[in-house]
Amino acid sequence: MKKSPTHVPPEWQWPAHGQVRIYVWQWPVRAAHWIIFVTIISLSFTGYYMHSPFVTPHGKTAYLMGTMRFVHLLSGFVFLAAVLVRIIWMFIGNRWSRWDQFIPTTKARIKDFLATGRYYGYMSWAPPRHIGHNAIAGFSYAAVYGMAVVEILTGLALLSNVLGNRTLAFFIGWLPRLIDLQWLREIHFLVMFGLWSFFVYHVYMAMLVSVEEENGVMESIFTGYKFLSESELRQAKTEVDGTGNQQLVDHVHRSECGEYHGGDSPPASGM
């Protein structure tokens, strides 16, 4: 039997009473996120095998290392494409995917960085609330992009050594001249563990924020939508209007419970 929403007890309503749904992560952001997720897994698996082959195949026609290298290269270029798309999107996307979400440049962001730090460091009871990334999360993503760029550059340099391709060597040839191939390999390998460490923390922090802020951050990376209360929305809106950026308003969509259509009228208060 399908229950109508009125039968759902109020504390189980989703989004909760008085919340609005807001379109935060546009599709290129989500697509890049998941492509990067999948390729990091396949790159790590094949890359670890290429570093230290942990299985021995049987049979006369085995081509295991060859296959691993092929998958690694393929995943590498898909990863490169996804990271490039995401970096381009930092300049043309909505306000929550912009580059300034990753590097705290304004006073407000620095304040937020400290406030979030106080929460993570058990010096406050509740996390500061955000529509996009909090400043610490954003900063950790900047580190991830840094690691991604290191992996891409060292990977391309190692590939250009394998291919002997002049065009590729023209673009990346300066790197092996600066740092020896062996050390590029070492960096390429060690940074992988940095990404793993980030992965561990990232998943937990997403769960923590999802539970503590009750803003649907976990679901948002699938759907693009997050939830926030009307007062927060109003506050964010004034902030946005102050800078003349209307994008926030454009991305607030009708939601089941907190009806808000965007536009100039204040959000309808609850039901």
Binding site: P53, L64, M65, Y122, W125, N161, Q182, W183, E186, Y201
Partner: protein
């Protein structure tokens, strides 16, 4: 001393080298230089007409391994040809003269044939403390190199030490050793033949190329000839099929080692090294290290002692962690720390929630039951 006027055919005849042997040598040189067969005739006629240019071979901080390597090759008799194609006026290891006599011979070449002779340098050149760590006849290696090499028509640095300093320059380099190109910058017609030692077939091929075309072969960014240093060892290796299949030697002398599996896991540096070692080979083309069952140590790569060691591991030791700690251990350690930190954070967050809930309960006033009663 042989007068440089005596031509190659005459010199070969004196040695009793037949025309057949001569042509065989020329064709093997054409093959080493990766030249098409039509150049065989060009090489043969050019060498027959060659005027036996003078060559001086300088040894500085070296082990004489490159000279020895040159002498050990016998079939095709590279040594004979190289010794006969050129008029060797100075080579400490080979020459009969000694002391002042020998030094005078060198001096005479520089004085009388400036701009005509070929200088071969073997060994690194120390620069620390005024170059006192290598002196010959009271002169420092640096002075000799400057004097002799800057007057040569072409300079050939043979072996890792003469190219980039090699073993002598490797960390911590107490003598301030440098390769020829760094010790005497701006030398014209310099060609580096790295390798520990150099492969005499390549050196002979460079000389033949020079005698035939009167110029050096195409060079890479390290001034090494592309015909010898242009291809990755890994791409020419006979164990490569095992690599692609995923069959590796796990331990010296194990089943895989006996079957000739790939030496990648034993630290073979073939994938990052370039050289024509697998095709030209050693000891008259008999074998080369990987064929003999030992991983490549990338001896023809730039500063290989520092950059490619440890030779029996895939990756270098991470600085600051001691040589026994591998990159794998460090990587897993980092990840383990992250997991531990995260677990601590989970516990902390649970505790915070509990404390918070208790605090809020305490602050909420008890429902005024008395009023209801």
């Amino acid at each position: 001393m042989t007068a440089p006027t005596c031509g190659v055919p005459a010199a070969l005849q004196v040695r009793g080298v037949s025309r057949r042997e001569f042509v065989r040598f020329c064709s093997s040189m054409a093959a080493t230089l990766a030249l098409p067969p039509k150049y065989l005739g060009v090489i043969a006629s050019a060498l027959a007409k060659a005027d036996r240019p003078i060559l001086v071979w300088l040894e500085f901080q070296d082990c004489a391994g490159n000279s020895e390597s040159m002498l050990r090759s016998s079939n095709p008799p590279v040594t004979e040809f190289v010794l006969d194609l050129l008029s060797w006026e100075y080579h400490e290891l080979l020459m009969a003269g000694a002391g002042k006599q020998a030094e005078d011979a060198l001096e005479r070449v520089v004085r009388e044939h400036a701009g005509q002779y070929i200088a071969v340098v073997e060994g690194a050149i120390p620069t620390a403390d005024g170059g006192v760590y290598c002196t010959i006849g009271g002169k420092t290696a640096l002075d000799i190199a400057k004097h002799v090499c800057s007057n040569a028509v072409a300079n050939i640095a043979v072996g890792a030490c003469a190219w980039d300093g090699g073993l002598v320059r490797s960390n911590p380099n107490p003598t301030g050793a440098l390769g020829l190109q760094d010790a005497v910058p701006g030398l014209k017609n310099l060609i580096n033949l790295g390798g520990c030692p150099h492969n005499p077939a390549n050196t002979a091929a460079v000389l033949v190329h020079y005698l035939t075309f009167h110029e050096l072969p195409a060079l890479d960014e390290y001034r090494r000839p592309l015909f010898a240093y242009g291809d990755i060892i890994h791409d020419q290796c006979e164990r490569r099929a095992h690599y692609d299949a995923g069959r590796f030697v796990e331990e010296w002398g194990d089943e895989g080692h006996r079957k000739g599996y790939c030496l990648y896991k034993m630290g073979c540096k073939g994938p990052e090294a370039t050289y024509n070692c697998p095709t030209v080979r050693w000891n008259d083309g008999t074998s080369w290290p990987v064929k003999a069952g030992h991983g490549c140590i990338a001896c023809a790569s730039h500063r290989f002692w520092d950059t490619k060691s440890p030779f029996y591991r895939r990756l270098p030791s991470v600085p600051g962690f001691g040589v026994d700690v591998t990159a794998d251990q460090i990587g897993w350690g980092i990840t383990g720390l992250a997991v531990t930190a995260m677990a601590a954070q989970v516990v902390g967050d649970i505790v915070r929630d509990k404390v918070k809930a208790r605090k809020e309960n305490a602050e909420t006033p008890e429902p005024p039951q008395s009023r209801q009663a």
